[in-house]
Amino acid sequence: MKKTPSTLSTLENAGLSAEDQLLFSNARPRPYEPYPIKAIEDFANWARANSLWILAFGTGCCSIELRPLMTARFDASRFGVAGRPTPRQSSVFIIGGYVSVKTLKRIVRSYEQMQGPKFIIALGSCPANGGMYFDSYNTINQFDLYLPVDLYVTGCMPRPEALLGAILELQDDIKAGKCDGANRYIEHFDEYKANQKKVIKDWNMPDYNW
């Protein structure tokens, strides 16, 4: 296991008021190791790949294509995909297009509440490089500075077929054990946090939302 870059064992939670600090955990997240026996880990990965639960959070305009994806025309439930209304139970976060600063804060919060292993699919060109909003004062230009992305889907907006393709691709990657975004996030936790705090000016939530 890699060491966490910081020597601090707890988080500061500096954004919280003194009484709120008592209400939130200040423990640091730790990276997680795979099962020691490879066959078990592969089997676990197979199960994870075939049961992808998407968090119901339409963050941008690309999320409008999630509705055709989940309903009768494209019916992603054939591949074990289901929508889940709560971050605790979901394993896939689909970033639907551009991310405004205000939404980024909620995305970080929702993402940290998801239980690992968790995966991020970023849709469209906006999270990749700003897309057509490259000069907008309120949308971020590179999503992977703030959270680890497992898969980008190009297009503006990607068609449901592209999304289905992305899901199949993600399943292959998970089966091959390549999707460890959640671990990457924790190993480089301080860098990601610094980037997040650079754009989110009023940081009034705990540093890690347990």
Binding site: S51, R78, A82, P85, T86, R88, Q115
Partner: protein, 308 residues
């Protein structure tokens, strides 16, 4: 003596396994049926198994306290306890479980037990939507238990016994002996309560993903959730077996059990797929009106028909 108890426990474990697997398969079958109505293909049959496996092998889990741990445990204890006292196959020593002379009341108690344990666990999670879901779930449960209890009292009077095995025995010898035909009023009241029990529309307000993100289990995840999922299948199948025993003549073999339980489940599904959901006050009002009335009528009916 001890050997006999071990043998019965072993038999029960076998029943438990079969009923759970059957419950998961029925769940997938029902999902696929609903999907067909909606014009979809639906999930593969293996999907419920994979879902449980996946939640089990999640790498992290956050706890909110001791009751949060115990909630799912109570829930599944309620499911197992309910099954433990229901004879699954009539006339089979192996699948008779721990059925005894007063098992019917114990079963009804266990059906409550799991819900209450869940309420405590979800309450400790501290999520406001969980609390709302619990409040709705428990109040709706109180409402549908009234017609159900009335129907059960009615058949207890009718068969003059508190043993499920004896109730099933009394219904043997052809379809005309089923409670469905001998006491259709009680069956009607119980089937209306059954709609509330299964949690399909229009009585799924306590889950209601559009309003309170899935209600009580909002905060449950990882292994806790896999327990809840297992229980959902087990408890669902157990309720079907209970209804089959009480109202539809029981089953003498697994095939008969499957046909009957699926048919019973289909009632809830057919209603569920065509209806939106009631608000909780509307659903309580519903159960306290017609189904309760039918339940009372069934008792009067039984008094007139069978006790004279």
């Amino acid at each position: 003596m001890i050997a006999e108890w071990f043998g019965r426990a072993g038999n029960f474990s076998l029943t438990l396994l079969i009923v759970t697997v059957y419950g998961l398969l029925v769940g997938a079958f029902i999902e696929r049926t609903i999907a067909k109505v909606q014009g979809r293909i639906g999930i593969p049959y293996r999907q419920p198994f994979i879902n449980i496996l996946k939640t089990l092998v999640k790498r992290t889990a956050v706890s909110h306290g001791i009751m949060f741990y115990l909630g799912p445990v109570f829930r599944i204890a309620g499911g197992i306890g309910t099954l433990a006292f229901i004879p699954v196959i009539y006339g089979s020593e192996t699948f008779a479980n721990f059925s005894y002379a007063g098992d019917l009341f114990l079963v009804i108690y266990f059906m409550f037990f799991g819900q209450l344990g869940m309420a405590l666990g979800a309450g400790e999670s501290g999520h406001p939507y969980s609390a709302i879901g619990i409040a709705r779930g428990l109040s709706q449960m109180t409402a549908y238990e009234v017609p159900f209890a009335l129907a059960v009292i009615s058949i207890v009077i009718q068969y003059d016994t508190l043993s499920i095995t004896e109730i099933v025995a009394a219904q043997q010898g052809g379809w005309q002996h089923w409670t469905l035909f001998t006491n259709w009023v009680a069956t009607l009241a119980a089937m209306l309560a059954f709609l509330g029990m299964t949690g399909y529309s229009p009585f799924d307000i306590f889950l209601a993903p559009q309003e309170i993100p899935i209600g009580p289990p909002t905060e449950f995840h990882s292994a806790y959730l896999s327990l809840l999922q297992t229980n959902r299948a087990l408890f669902g199948a157990t309720k079907l077996v209970l209804f089959m025993n009480l109202f539809f003549g029981g089953a003498t073999g697994w095939i008969e059990l499957m046909i009957k339980t699926l048919a019973i489940y289909m009632v809830a599904v057919v209603v569920g797929v065509a209806f939106p959901r009631f608000r909780v006050d509307q659903s309580i009002r519903f159960f306290f009106k017609i189904p309760t009335l039918i339940g009372i009528i069934s008792i009067i009916y039984v008094q007139m028909m069978f006790t004279s």
